[in-house]
């Protein structure tokens, strides 16, 4: 059974005539690596928001891990799918990078020692340990992006959705991000990267789903490594 399954899903924003997502049927397996591509306004982010339950489909069904998506609360969806939005500043709530990583872990009820251990492990993995006491808002956009990905991954979701992760990062950090995603995927976490950065996606690999005007027009392994 697919981890995420979409059956003829459609969504139209209020006041718009054209559907943002049209009749999409898609199966995503656990541990799969996906590149969701398409031009601006092709429905990529809308599709991600539908998968995350942030938008309710007007037609069709979405099943997550064997249960209809409507049965889950946002918190429960967040336990299964990690989501990093286009603008990382919207996901930074704390006064230090360390607290940013610890934020979700504390709310999950983890003990003090375990929180410290996990924060250290993930910050070191992302090469961010030296920034642990910095105010997240003072970091560069690329560093913010990594902090947010690190914070989401520390919650150990089974699947990760990244919306335009390379939007404001330089070539060096793109390569670093690609290596990190590769490593995460190798360890078993499924990943969906929403992007139109061809250079990054070619290096990233994975199943390519291409969208045009709200429809999936191509579902192939073009970017396969």
């Amino acid at each position: 059974m697919a981890f995420i399954s979409l059956q003829e899903v459609s969504y139209t924003y209020n006041g718009r005539k054209e559907a943002a997502v049209k009749n999409i049927t898609l199966n995503i397996e656990e541990g799969e690596k996906i590149a969701l591509t398409g031009l601006n306004g092709s429905g990529k982010s809308t599709l991600a928001k539908l998968i995350l339950g942030l938008l309710k489909p007007q037609a069709g069904n979405i099943v997550l891990d064997g249960l209809p998506l409507g049965k889950y609360s946002l918190v429960k969806i967040g336990e299964k799918i990690g989501y990093v939005v286009q603008n990382p500043s919207q996901m930074l709530f704390n006064t230090s990078v360390f607290n940013e990583i610890a934020f979700g872990l504390k709310w999950k009820g983890k003990g003090k020692d375990e929180v410290f251990h996990l924060c250290k492990k993930y910050l070191e993995f992302f090469e961010l340990w030296h920034l642990r006491d910095e105010l997240p808002f003072n970091l560069s956009e690329g560093q913010k992006q990594l902090v947010v990905i690190c914070a989401v991954l520390a919650l150990q979701p089974r699947f990760l959705i990244l919306d335009e992760p390379t939007k404001s990062i330089d070539t060096f950090r793109k390569k670093r991000l690609k290596d990190i995603l590769q490593e995460i995927w190798r360890l078993g976490t499924g990943i969906m990267v929403i992007s139109h950065d061809k250079e990054f996606l070619t290096a990233y690999g994975g199943r390519r789903i291409h969208m045009v005007k709200g429809e999936v027009v191509e579902d192939a392994g073009r970017y396969q490594n």
Partner: protein, 240 residues
């Protein structure tokens, strides 16, 4: 029917002053009725009112709370010597609710207008352009900040905070977390905007021209006169 925005502004000002000046539920009821007629006349989509359904419960609760403080009137519900609900408390609660709906109706008349026309109307009313510009920026960024706030709410929940189950002592902490990125974003946007304004020559010239123009027509003078007459009649009738 094309009505100048200044006519609408006058009507909104009249309704707002009347809503705050009167306390009697019957008078406020008449004002609300006139307000609704105006809203319909200006073709404001009435479904917007549905969004305020939740406030009815809030005012029902307010009525009960009022009764603890408004001791006058006949007790409708009491527990021993404590009045839970009094006639005056109920009337006061109804008045506040009616006032609220009058102000919402007035706000909707303005919200349904073209923003550029509203700005131009304020300039023609001789309000300094700097202040008008601030209002314009405020209106422009409301949907942006609402969208950002919603994204943050979603983000915080996806990171494991169940907002419905947050303990009372942690509520403040969570809301500080939610508003930190919003405040940061406001400051960042304000800084960028000020730089962009300087770069585009804001206030370089003391006079400014406008692409659009607005003018008062016969219908505007008729509506303004009628509004003032109706207001005068209402004020006179309430006094006597």
């Amino acid at each position: 029917m094309r009505v100048d925005i200044r006519t609408k502004l006058l009507i909104v000002a009249i309704f707002s002053v009347l809503a705050l000046a009167y306390q009697d539920p019957r008078t406020l009821g008449i004002i609300l009725l006139l307000n609704l007629l105006t809203v319909i006349l200006f073709r404001v989509p009435l479904h917007i009112f549905r969004g305020f359904k939740g406030f009815i419960y809030m005012y029902a609760a307010l009525m009960v709370i009022q009764s603890f403080f408004v001791r006058d009137g006949e007790p409708l519900l009491q527990l021993g010597s404590i009045y839970l609900l009094t006639t005056d408390g109920v009337l006061y609660g109804i008045s506040i609710m009616l006032r609220f709906f009058i102000l919402v109706g007035s706000g909707l008349i303005i919200l349904n207008c073209n923003t550029s026309e509203l700005i131009l109307a304020l300039v023609k009313l001789r309000i300094p352009y700097e202040i008008v510009f601030m209002i314009q920026v405020g209106i422009r960024f409301i949907p942006v900040f609402m969208g950002e706030l919603q994204n943050i709410f979603h983000g915080i929940q996806l990171r494991g905070v169940d907002l419905r189950r947050v303990y009372k002592r942690k509520v403040l902490k969570v809301y500080v977390s939610i508003f930190s990125p919003v405040i940061y974003s406001v400051l960042q946007k304000a800084e960028k905007l000020s730089i962009l304004l300087e770069l585009r020559g804001f206030r370089k010239s003391p006079t400014r021209t406008y692409y659009r123009d607005i003018s008062l027509g016969k219908i505007d003078y008729v509506i303004m006169t009628l509004s003032l007459i109706i207001t005068a009649v209402l004020v006179y009738a309430v006094r006597h």
